[in-house]
């Protein structure tokens, strides 16, 4: 079996037929990590010993006939998910030595399903970034062109799947952090409905926007992972108590009669011509499968990035107040008093982008500015949500490019926050509205992958996975492997 191209579904079938053991599979991934990761920097921590022990336990379950679809499958978690006993850094110097005393719910669920944890993937610091360049552990490189970024913030998770360093990975998406790197690395990434996957043990960035989800080679693989991760968790105060559908059961549903909305705001100037052409070709493919496309408007789209850059920093400034150098995390040397302890520990522990966002959020929430910034942004948030509600009265899904351009060069946008923020121009609205969004590989421009984004109504993950799966049955973009990673 060719590991670099195998889907999780194929690997699971081979494991259950006992054609390969989980230990062999795990060793094969560890060998690939050792060989390829020095050039890519996808992993912050690799746990070879732990992974092999879990693989042997999975092999015992497989031998006993007690195996599910994920039993024995080697995966990796974004380093934002707390893992009991294994370091969790969140890409920050602040948590460079932090070992959580418990598992995140998503981690526990995937462990329970029998998956094998290879290690923790690199990310933008505290998930704040769109290029993976803000990580304390150095940038991740795009497997399709190591001079380019993998996207972010789940850049290590996306690049690891693209390079065949893990069968699948987890990520989190606050403004596009699963979908945008999935697009830039040529893989499938799903941000579920807000509240679908538990946030417990997922280090908080912006609590009303953060959502965990899968990054995988195919929609079918993403469905298998989501089935294990989704569900009500009493330990997440905004977890939604709604039944989890059988995502795999509807993957093959017919697309005839499906109505796909095309917001004109997603197809205007500012979209790279190659990206636009690839997306247009993907829409043709979906029409051949029986879908009907409908033009529509999301008139407040241009306000989504500005609203986000008030709301997300405001929530981040509150969430990151917990890092005080007292209970965990970095502490400065020889503090003279309490204020000095707080200020120097935080200033030394956080990188520049995190400090920028904390300060923007602090300003937006400060006396005299709260109404003008924070409440105004929340009112605009409702306008954006209402645009989608009206659209979903007419269509089943909304489609467009995931990102306006393919992967950009390392360092290209590093000193220009606004330009960097605009890489998420098509993904942020789904977070503000709490909607599920999926990026599916839809071709290449100049050797770099392009992603098609599908946005659904609340809890329509099954529909998004169904559309992506049918598309992947008639295309092979998701089967392509970066030249250096065969």
């Amino acid at each position: 079996m060719q590991i670099a191209t195998a889907t999780l579904a194929e690997l699971g079938a081979a494991l259950r037929r006992r054609e390969v053991s989980s230990e062999e599979l795990t060793r094969a991934y560890l060998e690939r990590i050792e060989r390829l990761d020095p050039g890519l920097n996808c992993f912050v921590t690799v746990d070879a010993e732990g992974a092999l022990a879990q693989a042997r336990a999975a092999d015992a379950r497989l031998a006993a006939g007690d195996a599910g679809p994920l039993t024995g499958i080697p995966i990796a978690h974004k380093d934002i998910f707390c893992t009991d006993g294994l370091r969790t850094t969140c890409g920050s110097k602040m948590l460079a030595n932090f070992v959580a005393p418990y598992d995140a719910t998503a981690v526990a669920q995937l462990k329970q399903a029998g998956s094998v944890l290879l290690g923790k993937t690199n990310m933008d610091e505290f998930a704040m970034g769109s290029s993976n360049e803000t990580s304390h552990f150095g940038p991740v490189r795009n497997p399709w062109d190591p001079a380019r970024v993998p996207g972010g913030s789940s850049g290590g998770s996306a690049a690891a799947v693209a390079a065949g360093l893990a069968a699948a990975t987890t990520g989190t998406d606050t403004g596009g952090s699963i979908r945008q790197p999935a697009a830039l690395c040529g893989i499938t990434g799903l941000k579920p409905t807000y509240g679908r996957v538990s946030r417990y043990g997922m280090i908080a960035f912006a609590s009303s926007l953060d959502q965990g989800g899968p990054l995988a080679r195919s929609a079918e693989d993403a469905a298998l992972l989501l089935a294990a991760m989704a569900g009500f968790d009493p330990r997440d105060s905004t977890s939604v108590d709604a039944p989890v559908p059988d995502y795999a059961a509807t993957l093959g549903d017919d697309l005839r009669g499906l109505r796909i909305g095309l917001p004109r705001e997603y197809f205007g100037d500012g979209v790279d011509a190659g990206v636009a052409a690839a997306v247009a070709a993907a829409l043709d493919e979906l029409r051949r499968l029986g879908a009907e496309t409908v033009e529509l408007s999301l008139p407040n789209s241009h306000l989504s990035v500005p609203a986000y850059y008030v709301i997300a920093p405001a929530e981040c400034s509150a969430n990151l107040a917990r890092f005080d150098g007292v209970r965990y995390g970095h502490r400065c040397a020889d503090p003279v008093d309490l204020e000095d302890l707080y200020k120097r520990s935080r200033s030394e522990g956080f990188g520049a982008e995190v400090k920028r966002r904390i300060m923007i959020g602090t300003y937006a929430l400060s006396a005299g500015y709260y109404d003008a910034y924070y409440l105004k942004a929340q009112r605009v948030r409702r306008l954006i949500r209402d645009d989608f509600s009206q659209a979903f009265a007419r269509v089943d899904v909304i489609a467009g490019p995931t990102a306006p351009t393919p992967a950009f060069g390392l360092g290209e946008k590093a000193d220009d926050p606004i330009t960097m923020y605009l890489s998420d121009i098509f993904t942020i609205a789904a977070n503000l509205a709490g909607l599920p969004g999926l990026s599916v590989p839809a071709g290449f421009v100049g050797g770099l992958p392009v992603g098609l984004q599908l946005i659904g109504d609340h809890f329509a993950e099954a529909r998004l996975l169904n559309v992506a799966h049918r598309y992947q049955q008639v295309t092979d973009w998701h089967r392509q492997v970066p030249p250096g990673c065969v």
Binding site: V99, V310, R385, I418, H458
Partner: protein, 95 residues
Amino acid sequence: MHLDRDTVDRIAHLARLQLAEAEAEGYARHLSDILDFVAQLDDADTAGTEPLAHPLEVTQRLRDDVVTEPDQRARFQAQAPAVEDGLYLVPKVLD
């Protein structure tokens, strides 16, 4: 908008951050750019539109007020930078 140095220092203090002399100007410029960018929100007509705090408009659940966590103080404090006799250590607050 251009945030002056005093305003940047005030924000940094509120956020309990300390900016090095050399980086303060860069923060002033980037923060000013970001505030100019988000000023686009002013053009939106939000008269009569209520703020949206949660995308699904659900409210926080309440649970029974009972102890659900076991005592893991020793494990938690193993993470702390400075502890003694089960207490977290900070610089002297009162003389």
